[in-house]
C-alpha cells in the first residue's frame, strides 16, 4: 500500500466506525424523545422507565459517536490538506455551520438532558431531548450538504486554481442531497427500530419479568423499522436517476458494485419481512407471544448496520478516483509530504484506540440491555454534595 491508499483506508475505517454509532443515534433520538414526551404528558411510570432504559442505550452509544467524530473532523486537515486548499471556501462552510451551530447545541442540550434529571422542570427537560434530536438531524443535514458537494460540486466556480462559492442555495438543493438525506435519516430509524426490536426479543425470549415493558417496546421497534425501511428503500431507488445523471460509472468498480448488491439484498428482504411478516404479527401481540421467532429477531438486528456501511461504500468508493468529483483527485488532495511513518503511526493509534473503545462500548450496550429496565443509571437520584460523614473514632 502506498501513502494515498493508507490515508484512504484510515479515513474509511474511522468513517465507517463513526457511522455505525451515528446511524443508531439518529434512530434512537426521536424514539427516546417520544417516550419522554409520553411520560411528561401522562405521568405513567412505565413511560419513565422506557425513557430511562432506551435513553441509556442511546447515551452509551452516543459516546463513541463523539470520539470517532472528533477524529473525522481533524482528519481532513491531517491527511487531506489539499481539499481545504482547493475547495475549503465552499466545502468548509457547511462543516463550519455544522460544528458551530448544530453540534454545539446538540452536545450542550444533551448534557442538560443527561444531567438534568430531578433538576429541570419536566417540560423543559423534555424540550432538551427534542432539541437534541432536532440538532442531531440538523447535523446530519449539514454533513450531507458537504458530502453531496464532494459527489457533485455545484454552486461554485474555479478561480485561480481554487473553488469559489457562487450560489450557496445550489449546495442546499444539490440533487445528490435531496434523496440521499432522507435515505440516511430513514436508515437511522430502521436501525434504531431493529435495535429496540432485537433487545425486546431478547427479554421476551428469556421470559424476564418485564413482559409488558418489552411487549410495548417490541411494537415500537417494529413500527419504527417499518416506517424507516419503507422510506430508506424508496429514497434509495430514487437516487438511481441522480447517480445516472451525475456519476454514470459509479457502480462499475468491484467494491461499489458488490456493496450495492449487498445493500439492496439486505434492504429489500428485510423491508418485505418487516412489512409482510412482523407488522401483521403485531395484531394481538402475536410477535411478542411467538417465542420461537425471537432468536430470529435477535439475529437480524445487526443487518441494518451492515447495509448502512455498504451504502457508504457505494457512495464513497464509487466516487473514486475523485475527492471532489471531476475536479480534485484523491491523490492530489493528500497532504503534500505526508510520510508513510506518520500515516501508519496515526492509523495504528486511531484504529487501535477507537476500535478498542467501540468494542467496549458494544459490550456495555449489551450489558445494559441484559440488565434490563430495573438497573438503569441514567436518571438515578443525584447525591448530596456533602462528603459522607467520617465514622467517629472512639476507644
Amino acid at each position: 500500500m502506498d501513502v494515498v491508499d493508507l490515508a484512504r483506508t484510515q479515513f474509511a475505517v474511522t468513517g465507517s466506525l463513526h457511522f455505525l454509532f451515528v446511524v443508531l443515534t439518529l434512530g434512537l433520538a426521536p424514539l427516546v424523545a417520544i417516550m419522554h414526551t409520553r411520560y411528561a404528558v401522562t405521568g405513567n411510570p412505565l413511560h419513565e422507565r422506557m425513557t430511562r432504559f432506551w435513553g441509556q442505550i442511546y447515551v452509551i452509544n452516543y459516546a463513541l459517536g463523539i470520539f470517532t467524530g472528533l477524529v473525522m473532523e481533524f482528519q481532513f486537515g491531517l491527511s487531506w490538506s489539499g481539499l481545504s486548499r482547493y475547495a475549503g471556501d465552499v466545502f468548509g462552510a457547511p462543516l463550519a455551520i455544522e460544528t458551530l451551530v448544530a453540534f454545539f447545541l446538540e452536545s450542550t442540550f444533551l448534557g442538560l438532558w443527561i444531567f438534568g434529571w430531578h433538576r429541570l422542570p419536566r417540560g423543559l427537560h423534555v424540550t432538551c431531548i427534542w432539541l437534541v434530536t432536532l440538532t442531531a438531524y440538523a447535523s446530519a443535514f449539514w454533513i450531507m450538504v458537504a458530502n453531496s458537494f464532494l459527489q457533485h460540486p455545484v454552486g461554485s466556480v474555479e478561480q485561480g486554481g481554487r473553488l469559489v462559492l457562487r450560489d450557496f442555495g445550489a449546495l442546499l438543493t444539490n440533487p445528490n442531497l435531496v434523496f440521499a438525506l432522507p435515505h440516511v435519516i430513514s436508515a437511522g430509524l430502521w436501525t434504531g427500530g431493529f435495535v429496540v426490536m432485537g433487545a425486546s426479543a431478547y427479554h421476551l425470549f428469556r421470559r424476564t419479568a418485564e413482559r409488558e415493558f418489552f411487549t410495548r417496546s417490541l411494537r415500537i421497534g417494529v413500527v419504527t423499522a417499518f416506517i424507516g425501511s419503507l422510506f430508506t428503500v424508496g429514497f434509495g431507488y430514487a437516487q438511481f436517476g441522480v447517480v445516472e445523471d451525475t456519476q454514470p460509472d459509479k457502480f462499475d468498480g468491484v467494491i461499489p458494485g458488490t456493496a450495492l448488491g449487498l445493500m439492496i439484498t439486505i434492504g429489500q428482504l428485510l423491508q418485505f419481512g418487516v412489512m409482510l411478516v412482523l407488522l401483521p404479527l403485531l395484531i394481538k401481540d402475536l410477535l411478542a407471544r411467538w417465542r420461537w421467532l425471537h432468536p430470529v429477531l435477535m439475529l437480524i438486528t445487526p443487518l441494518p448496520f451492515v447495509a448502512a456501511i455498504a451504502g457508504w461504500l457505494v457512495r464513497e468508493v464509487g466516487r473514486q478516483p475523485w475527492l471532489v468529483y471531476g475536479k480534485l483527485s484523491v491523490a492530489d488532495a493528500m497532504t503534500p509530504g505526508l510520510s508513510k511513518a506518520a500515516i501508519i503511526g496515526s492509523f495504528v493509534g486511531f484504529a487501535g484506540v477507537l476500535g478498542l473503545l467501540a468494542l467496549i462500548d458494544y459490550l456495555l450496550i449489551a450489558r445494559a440491555v441484559r440488565r434490563g429496565p430495573g438497573q438503569v443509571s441514567l436518571g438515578m437520584p443525584d447525591r448530596s454534595a456533602d462528603p459522607v460523614p467520617q465514622p467517629a473514632h472512639s476507644l
Binding site: F76, G77, S81, V101, S107, L112, V164, L357, A385
Partner: protein, 253 residues
C-alpha cells in the same frame, strides 16, 4: 467580515481554555485531590455536567478554521501532525474515562477509567501547551523543543490551578480541597489565567489569520446563518451554568 470571523475564532479558543481548562485540570489532579473512590466520584460529579458544553468550543473552533480560514486549516493541522494526533488520542482517552467509569461495577473498573481521565487530561494539557508554542513560533520550527515542553508545563499548571479553584467553588469547604472556599470571582480569575496562554498565541498569529480569511461570499453566507443563532448558543451555555452550579451532584459520569 474577516475581523468578525477572526473574533469568533479567538473567542472559541479562549472560551475553550477557560471552560475546558478546569475539567482538564481537575482530571490531572483527580488522584491527588481524590484520595478515596468516594472523593473521586464527587469530583467527577462536580465537573461532569460542564464537560459536554465545554469541549464543543474546540469542535466549533476547528469547524470555523475550516470554513473561514480554509487555506490555513490543512496547513496548520498537517503542520502540527504528531501534536494533533496526540491531542485527539489524549482527548478521547480522557472522554472515555468520563463516559465509561460508571458503566460497569467494581473498584478495578472505575480505577482503570479514573486513570484514563488523569493520564488523558495530563497528556491533553501538555499537548496544548506544545501546540500553542509551535503555533506562536511558526510551523517551520521543530515541534518538539524545550520551549514547547515548558509551554506544556505552564498550560498544565494553569489548568490545575483553574481545576482546583473550580473544586473549591463547587464543593466549598470540602475535604477534597482541604476545606478551602473560592468565590465565583476567583473562578473567573483562574479562567482568565487558563486562557492567557491561548490569548498570547492568538495575538501572535492574528495578522496571519486575518490575511488568510476566506473570500467575502463565504464569510457573509456563513455569517447570515450563524449570527442569528448566537443568542441561542450563548443562552444554552448560560443555562448549563445556571442549572449545575449549585446543589446535589449528578451521578451519571
Amino acid at each position: 467580515m474577516e475581523i468578525i470571523w477572526f473574533g469568533a475564532l479567538a473567542v472559541l479558543l479562549l472560551g475553550y481554555f477557560a471552560l475546558e481548562g478546569f475539567d482538564i485540570g481537575l482530571g490531572i489532579l483527580l488522584p491527588v485531590l481524590g484520595r478515596s473512590q468516594e472523593d473521586r466520584d464527587r469530583l467527577v460529579g462536580a465537573v461532569a455536567p460542564f464537560v459536554l458544553a465545554g469541549e464543543v468550543w474546540l469542535v466549533a473552533l476547528v469547524g470555523v478554521l475550516f470554513g473561514a480560514f480554509s487555506t490555513l486549516e490543512g496547513e496548520v493541522l498537517s503542520g502540527l501532525y504528531p501534536l494533533v494526533v496526540a491531542l485527539l488520542l489524549t482527548w478521547i482517552t480522557r472522554d472515555a474515562g468520563l463516559w465509561f467509569r460508571r458503566r460497569a461495577d467494581g473498584a478495578a473498573w472505575r480505577a482503570v477509567w479514573d486513570g484514563a481521565i488523569c493520564l488523558g487530561s495530563a497528556g491533553l494539557a501538555l499537548t496544548w501547551g506544545m501546540t500553542l508554542v509551535a503555533l506562536a513560533r511558526g510551523l517551520s520550527a521543530p515541534l518538539l523543543s524545550l520551549e514547547g515542553v515548558v509551554g506544556g508545563l505552564v498550560v498544565a499548571l494553569a489548568f490545575c490551578l483553574h481545576g482546583w479553584t473550580f473544586a473549591a467553588w463547587r464543593l466549598p469547604g470540602d475535604p477534597v480541597v482541604r476545606g478551602a472556599r473560592r468565590t465565583g470571582r476567583a473562578l473567573a480569575l483562574t479562567a482568565l489565567a487558563a486562557a492567557i496562554p491561548a490569548g498570547l498565541t492568538v495575538a501572535v498569529v492574528a495578522s496571519t489569520l486575518i490575511d488568510h480569511a476566506a473570500p467575502p461570499e463565504t464569510l457573509t453566507t456563513m455569517g447570515a446563518i450563524v449570527l442569528p443563532c448566537v443568542p441561542i448558543l450563548v443562552g444554552a451555555q448560560v443555562w448549563v451554568w445556571r442549572i449545575f452550579s449549585r446543589g446535589a451532584l449528578p451521578t451519571f459520569f
